[in-house]
């Protein structure tokens, strides 16, 4: 069971207080978008073995959403950050590269 830090209320707590909601930084495509764009938005998800940016909600706490950068293999957590952003902030990228020098911050999809 992971320990997760909520950047909204500042609490570090057990995973059971939170709920994971999959890949972060998806761009919404609505009416007028192509079939490929909409398919990508609705269904296609990254499933990396390694660094992953995820959406989380402090379900049984403050109720707020946030993002977590995490390694899916070692379960290492690089940091939590605001959900109100379209890409990971520089300090999160720095924290990842500090421990994974090979990690390249790709463009948000």
């Amino acid at each position: 069971m992971l320990t997760i830090h909520c950047p909204n209320c500042g609490v570090t707590a057990e995973e059971t207080e939170f709920h994971a909601h999959g890949e972060a930084h998806l761009k919404r495509f609505g009416p007028g978008s192509s079939e490929d764009e909409f398919e990508g938005y609705l269904f296609m998800r990254k499933n990396p073995k390694g660094v992953h940016f995820e959406r989380w909600r402090h379900q049984y706490g403050c109720g707020k959403w946030f993002h977590v950068a995490r390694c899916t293999m070692t379960l290492e957590v690089f940091g939590s950050y605001s959900a109100q952003t379209v890409e990971p902030p520089q300090e999160i990228i720095d924290a990842i590269q500090d421990r994974r020098p090979d990690f390249a911050a790709g463009p948000a999809r």
């Binding site: 495509f29 609505g30 379960l75």
Partner: protein, 1005 residues
């Protein structure tokens, strides 16, 4: 025979006898005994029967690794099967019985299987199911069901209680042997919070049994002093009878405390599950001795050398008068020496090794006059229900018998394996230690925590350090290193205690005894005692292509029993490696999974049981309903009245009465559970336009509008009436089950997509009690309450108004889910019961009756209103339900709009909502499928529709239903067939879904 020695044992209180029964026989032990030692003291060597062949089995170990001696304990509400005698503390009145035999332990018909073993080889389950097909149901399955499982499941409800306990510490130490104690003392000196768990009821582990001195004192004295020192440290907590069960992500550890198993009369919970978050975990879990693989190694009386030493020293129990020791290492000589000192006979030591010169322990044994046969092995053990002797051979050969030695016990040792389970649970890697022939922790690859740094360290024997001096130094260094890493200040002037050192000759790996054992011997050589897996089975699996250790495990069931292969795994994979001609480390181990040792389901459940399993939500009128015949229906965590029964009335009759009364007189519905969500802010209208398929921003204050909500997949997820409260405030009603999820859905979009929109949402469901006043007399009832103009002119259909009714401040919505004249009155939750009472009283001569959810369903179905969860199932879009009128064509966007434009969503072949009427007036089975022409690839009839709701309507006096049907709206009047699971075929006509008052005249009065 096995017996109690007059000398007593170090854990025994001979002043306190304890009475217990085994298979109904009255027996006596002493305080401090385990059930195993007490049974042995009473010469009860035969303790159970094996799983597959029903072989007679005795105890082989002295700890949680015991595979054989599992018993039923207790009776009725305290009955529990598969309890290990080695971990069961004796108490007065303990009742144990043996399992897996018929008719008796001494004579078991199932033992015939041992003669059928040729027909029950590895993978026989899979093989027997191949053919013939007709045998599956009538022969194989009954056979396997009959043989499956060791003990019997308890039938009575568990009488005991259980609890969870959350704990936090800087360092958690698992294991209270000398390594754990030394680690605790070292860590404790830093001032850090230290928690130590010990699975047994005593500290010190096996070291006092093996003897030696620490800092010049006997080990027992050292343990006593260190415990005294630890008791002075306020930051150190020791928990006996608490096992470290599993290590999980980020330093999460489960502990399992047995509070009353040893004293059932004691008050309080039986087990406590410790949910621990540790900054670091030190596993001082010791080591487990390995059996040797020789023919007849499962006959009662063959025991691990260390276990025999434990029984002798701790409990004063002699397992046999004449014990032959067979070993591949020096350590086991301690057993022969201890037996000899106790005055027992050791006719021979069979040492598989050939040592160039006697090591210290070999010399000691020789000096005691014990006959030592180097390079020798057991060819086979003689005896049935008890060892009678051993046939010996040379280890190098194929088992030709050189001599037979009469004995009644065999002590065996194949070396020791560190208990690496907790290290491995969360990903710690292992390395093969060829010197000690065991897997030990690979310190370079520990399980990693949230920060990417290892959070488990092993100490003592768990690290693969076996001599006492090494154990203490390793434990001291481990704790010192951990505390320094965690940033605690460590006193520099204290070093590890020193213990006596012994020069030991190296162990020789022995995986088969004798080395070239014949097939006949291999068939009698057990690896996994509990699951009856033999050397021949593992070799067969390898031969049949199960070369991966994980596959071989499942094919043979090696290591799959309740002991999870604590004794058998290493021998099994060495056998597999041998059969594959591969190195042991390349074959690898199977995965270690928690718990280390079985824990009770009760402990996992903790207090979450019965009424405390889940919170129950009650409306303000819950108590009234309960007192007035409510039959409850669970709806989410709420309980809603399904119907209010009167006297001896049946539930069906009550529902019919309620439905008719609403149409004819006056009904009251407790609608408090419906979700009520306030949406407020400058962008609230824009936000609701995105959430609902229709337009909410154009709604005027004072008005209500029915709305549909979809997810981004386009599927309908919720519906309800929205009221505009003022310029920037809306109140959204949701379904009862949807209140929390729709609130969360709103928050998700506001926080993660449209975070710059100025909107607040608040779930106020429980702040209000809401009562639907429904029926032709509804207006009259409200007028009698008085205080508001509820006339058609002032409060028209789909209007709402704030005011006072009967003195209660309220909001009245003129909305209807029944097609009747209907008002929903929302008052403060605290006024709900009073308003309900007032309506019941003043409505007496208006024919007022409360009604439940089933009447609500029938009333809405008569009107063709959809119900989320009946007409929808997560794959239905509003367009399927004829709800196009509720989908805005003007809006550029709403959640689900893009998805509803996908080709599958616009497919004219999608099943559409229609009404269904049986040709004979009967009620269609809910969920039944309509069949069409032809069959599918599986030879089943093609389906062309299904029933989504079906009821008997008392107003129309016939069955009415709704369903989704292929091209339904274009097939009005057509009759289609619904085969029921009852074998009957129901014929139903496709009709308009609105069965009652098609023009809506009744609700608009």
């Amino acid at each position: 025979m096995s017996t109690r020695l007059a000398t007593g044992g170090r854990l025994l209180n001979t002043a306190k006898p304890v009475n217990f029964t085994f298979n109904g026989k009255q027996l006596r032990g002493y305080e401090g005994d385990t059930l195993a030692s007490a049974l042995l003291a009473n010469d009860q060597m035969l303790m159970g029967r094996s799983f597959k062949y029903h072989r007679p089995r005795g105890v082989v170990a002295a700890g949680p690794e015991e595979p054989n001696a599992l018993v039923n304990l207790g009776r009725e509400g305290r009955f529990e099967p598969n309890q290990r005698v080695t971990t069961t503390e004796l108490f007065d009145g303990l009742e144990a019985s043996s399992q897996n035999h018929w008719p008796s332990l001494e004579f078991d018909v199932g033992a015939i299987n041992t003669h059928l073993s040729k027909f029950l080889p590895a993978g026989f389950y899979y093989k027997m199911f191949m053919y013939p097909r007709s045998f599956w149901k009538h022969v194989y399955e009954p056979f396997i069901r009959h043989s499956a499982g060791l003990g019997k499941a308890p039938k009575a409800r568990d009488e005991d209680t259980y609890e969870h306990f959350h704990a936090y510490c800087d360092v958690l130490i698992v294991g209270g042997g000398v390594a754990g104690l030394e680690a605790a003392r070292t860590a404790g000196r830093s001032g850090a919070r230290v928690l130590l768990l010990e699975q047994t009821n005593h500290f010190g582990g096996r070291a006092p049994v093996d003897g030696g001195t620490v800092d010049g004192k006997p080990v027992d004295k050292f343990v006593e002093e260190i415990l005294e020192e630890l008791s002075q440290m306020e930051n150190v907590q020791l928990r006996p009878r608490t096992m470290g069960a599993g290590v999980y992500d980020h330093g999460y550890v489960l502990g399992y405390e047995q509070l009353t198993d040893h004293a059932p009369a004691k008050a309080g919970p039986r087990h406590r599950l410790w949910r621990i978050r540790a900054g670091h975990v030190i596993t001082a879990t010791g080591a487990i001795e390995r059996p040797l693989s020789f023919a007849g190694n499962d006959i009662p009386g063959v025991m691990l050398a260390g276990a025999m030493r434990d029984y002798l020293v701790n409990f004063g129990v002699s397992v046999g008068d004449r014990t032959v020791l067979v070993t591949n290492n020096d350590n086991a000589y301690l057993t022969a020496i201890a037996l000899k000192h106790a005055g027992l006979d050791v006719p021979a030591i069979l040492d598989a090794r050939v040592l160039p010169q006697d090591s210290e322990l070999v010399a000691q044994a020789r000096a005691l006059g014990i006959r030592i046969l180097m390079g020798h092995a057991i060819s086979s053990v003689k005896g049935g229900k008890r060892v009678t002797g051993v046939a010996i051979c040379s280890q190098a050969g194929e088992g030709a018998v050189l001599e037979e030695i009469a004995c009644d016990a065999v002590a065996m040792s194949g070396g020791w394996s560190p208990v690496v389970h907790l290290w491995s649970h969360c990903g710690g890697k292992l390395r093969w230690d060829s010197k000690r022939a065991c897997f030990s922790p690979d310190v370079d690859n520990p399980p990693k925590g949230a920060d990417g740094v290892g959070f488990v360290t092993t100490a003592g024997a768990a690290s693969g350090m076996f001599p006492l001096d090494d154990v203490l130094h390793d434990a001291h260094a481990a704790a010192d290193g951990v505390m320094t890493t965690l940033g605690f200040k460590m006193p520099r002037d204290i070093s590890a205690p020193s213990a006596t050192r012994r020069e030991e000759a190296p162990l020789a790996p022995v995986w088969m005894m004798p080395n070239g054992a014949s097939a006949k011997l291999r068939e009698k050589t057990w690896l996994d005692y509990q699951n009856d897996v033999k050397v021949s089975d593992v070799r067969l699996a390898a031969q049949e292509g199960f070369v991966s250790v994980e596959h071989a495990k499942r094919y043979t069931t090696l290591g799959m029993a309740t002991d999870q292969g604590k004794l058998s795994n290493i021998n099994g994979l060495a056998t597999l490696a041998g059969a594959l001609d591969a190195e042991i480390p390349t074959v690898g181990t199977t995965t270690f999974r928690p718990p280390y040792h079985p824990i009770s389901i009760g402990a996992i459940g903790g207090g979450a049981r019965g009424a405390t399993f889940q919170p129950l939500r009650r409306t303000p009128m819950h108590g009234w309903h309960d007192a007035n015949g409510a039959e409850w229906e669970p709806v989410g965590q709420w309980r809603r009245p399904y119907a209010f029964k009167r006297g001896s009335e049946s539930t069906h009759d009550a529902v019919m009465r309620e439905v008719k009364n609403v149409r004819e007189n006056l009904g009251l519905l407790d609608a408090s559970t419906l979700g009520k969500i306030i949406v407020k802010g400058p962008d609230a209208g824009r936000f609701l336009d995105m959430l609902y398929t229709n337009m909410m921003s154009t709604l005027k204050p004072g008005k209500c509008r029915y709305g549909l909500m979809c997810n981004e997949n386009g599927f309908l997820i919720d519906d309800g009436v929205v009221a505009r409260v003022d310029e920037d405030t809306w109140l959204c009603h949701t379904t009862t089950g949807g209140a929390e999820s729709i609130h969360a859905h709103m928050e998700e979009w506001l926080q993660t997509e449209w975070w710059d929109w100025q909107v607040y949402v608040a779930n106020v469901t429980e702040q209000y009690a809401q009562i639907a006043v429904v029926g032709p007399n509804a207006r009259q009832a409200l007028e009698r309450l008085g205080g508001m103009d509820v006339s058609k002119e002032t409060l028209g259909f789909m209007d709402w108004a704030d005011g006072t009714l009967g003195g209660y401040p309220c909001r009245v919505y003129r909305i209807s889910f029944s097609g009747e004249l209907s008002y929903e009155i929302a008052v403060d939750a605290s006024h709900g019961q009073a308003l309900w009472d007032a309506l019941m009283a003043l409505g007496a001569d208006l024919g007022v009756m409360p009604y439940g959810t089933e009447a609500l369903h029938i009333l809405r179905a008569e009107k063709g209103f959809i119900m989320i969860g009946d007409e929808t199932d997560g794959t239905v879009i509003p367009q399927d339900l004829g709800l196009n009128w509720a989908i805005s064509k003007k809006k550029e966007d709403y959640l689900g709009k893009r998805a509803q434009a996908r080709s599958h969503m616009t497919d004219p072949e999608r099943w559409q909502l229609v009404g269904l009427e049986t040709t004979d007036g009967s009620t269609l089975p809910d969920g039944a499928y309509a069949v069409g022409e032809g069959t599918n690839d599986n030879g089943q009839r093609n389906t062309i529709g299904r029933v989504t709701s079906s009821y008997h309507s008392p107003n129309l006096n016939k069955g009415i239903a709704m369903g989704l049907v292929l091209h339904g709206p274009d097939r009005m009047g057509e009759v289609i067939s619904f085969p029921g699971v009852d074998g009957k075929v129901y014929e139903a006509r496709i009709v308009d879904p609105v069965f009652y008052d098609k023009d809506g005249e009744k609700q608009n009065v």
